[in-house]
Symmetry: C2
Subunit: 209 residues, 2 copies
DNA sequence: GACCTCCTACGTACGCCGTACGTCGGACGG
DNA sequence: CCGTCCGACGTACGGCGTACGTAGGAGGTC
C-alpha cells in the first residue's frame, strides 16, 4: 500500500474518502474502510475529523473545488452561458457518484462562489442585474441541477429518475405518451441538455421586466 | 398501538414505511423499527418483502401514487402548464422528506405516467408534438426537479443545496455577487418558482423549430 | 538524565443495522 | 388423525458509527 509511516492528516483522510466516493459512491464510505485503506486504526481518524458526516462534507467540498473555470472565445453572452453550463455538466459527468452527493448538500466555500459569480457575469452581459439576475441565475441552476440529476443518476446501479420500461401501463389511457413511446424510452443526453439549454437562453433573450 | 392481531401484509408494511418516511425521512427506516411499529417480529417482514431496498422502492411508488391530477378552468395552455407545475410543487412540499427519495429513483407505474401524459397534453395545446414535445416536457421536468430539490432539500436538517452564509469568502473577488449579496442570502421560494416557471413558459411560447 | 505534559494512535465495547437460517405452531386437506 | 405447508419469529453473523480509556512517544523544563 502507501508508505507505512506517513502520518495521518485530515487532508490525507479526505483525499482517500474522495477517491473512494468517486470509485464506489458515498454508501461505500465507512470509517473502518477508510482507516484500512490508510493503513491506520479506525479510531485514529477521529483525531482529525469529528465524525463521519463532517468527513463527507469535507469530501464534497473538495470535489466541488475541483471545478475549473471554463473559458471561451466569444463576445456573445450566449456563448458564455453555453460554455458555463457545459462546464458544469462536464464536472457532473466526470464525478457521477459524487454529483448526487453535491446535489443534496449546501454549497459553500469559494468554489461554489466562483460558479455563481461566473453565472452572474454572463447574465449581466445579457443586460440584467440585481434581483432579476439572481432569479435568472437560480432558474439556470435549477435546470442544470435537474437535468444533471436525471442524466447522471439515471444509470440503474446508481438509482435514477428515468422512466422504467412501460410494462403494465394501459397505453390506450395515455394516447399522447403512446404516440411518442419510442422517444420516451430513449435518452440522448447530449441533445436533451442542449435543447433545454437553448430553451432557457431563448427565455433570457426574450425576457422583459 | 394498532389492534394486536391484525395479520401482517405487504400493504400494511409499506403503509407504515411510508408514514415513517414522511415523519422522519428514509434514514429513519429500519426493518427492526418497522417491525416494532407493527408489533411484529423483525424477520416476519421478510415473508412479505424480499429486502429493505425493495421495501423502500414500494414506499416510493406508493407516495408517487398519491399525486392527484390537477384541474384548472381555462382554455389557455399556459394556465394548464402553470397548474400542473404547481401541483407537482404541492406534492413535493407536502412530502419533503419523501421527495428526495423520489428524485433519486426511477419513476414507474401509472402515477408517473399520468404526470407525463398531462404534461404532453399541455404541450400539445401549445402546438407541439412528437420529439420536440418530449424535449420540452423533459426540460420542464428538469426544471421542476431542480427547483424542488433546492426548495425542499434546503432546510438544514434535510441537507440542502442553498448557499450557506458567506463567511470567509473574499467579497472583492466577486463584485457582482457582492452587489446582490442580500438577494443571494434570502429565498422566496414562491416567487422564485413562479419566476422560473414563467421563464420556461416564455421559452415555449417563443420556440420555433 | 529525569520528569512532566500533551498529542496522537489505537483497542475494546456498545448499540445499532440487514438478513441468512432454522424452528415452531397452527391452518387445512385427506 | 395425520401430513403438509406457510407465516411468524429467535438466534446469530458480520458490518456499522463512535464513546471511552490507554499507551507511547515528542517536546519542554529543571
Amino acid at each position: 500500500m502507501s508508505s507505512p509511516r506517513e502520518p495521518l492528516t485530515r487532508a490525507r483522510i479526505v483525499d482517500v474518502a474522495v477517491r473512494l466516493i468517486e470509485r464506489e459512491g458515498v454508501e461505500a464510505v465507512s470509517m473502518r474502510r477508510l482507516a484500512a485503506e490508510l493503513g491506520a486504526g479506525t479510531m485514529s481518524l477521529y483525531n482529525h475529523v469529528p465524525n463521519k458526516a463532517v468527513l463527507v462534507d469535507l469530501a464534497a467540498e473538495r470535489i466541488m473545488a475541483q471545478a475549473k473555470p471554463y473559458h471561451v472565445d466569444s463576445d456573445d453572452w450566449r456563448d458564455h452561458v453555453r460554455a458555463h453550463a457545459r462546464a458544469v455538466r462536464e464536472l457532473a459527468r466526470q464525478h457521477p457518484r459524487a454529483f448526487v452527493l453535491l446535489a443534496t448538500r449546501r454549497l459553500s466555500g469559494e468554489a461554489g462562489f466562483r460558479t455563481i459569480e461566473a453565472a452572474l457575469v454572463n447574465i449581466e452581459k445579457a443586460g440584467f442585474r440585481g434581483k432579476v439576475a439572481v432569479g435568472m441565475m437560480r432558474a439556470m441552476v435549477s435546470y442544470l441541477l435537474g437535468t444533471l440529476m436525471r442524466e447522471v443518476a439515471t444509470s440503474p446501479e446508481l438509482g435514477g429518475i428515468a422512466l422504467s420500461p412501460f410494462e403494465g401501463v394501459d397505453a390506450a389511457a395515455f394516447p399522447l405518451s403512446a404516440e411518442v413511446i419510442d422517444e420516451l424510452g430513449t435518452y440522448d443526453h447530449d441533445q436533451e441538455f442542449e435543447f433545454g439549454l437553448e430553451l432557457l437562453i431563448t427565455a433570457l433573450e426574450r425576457y422583459q421586466g
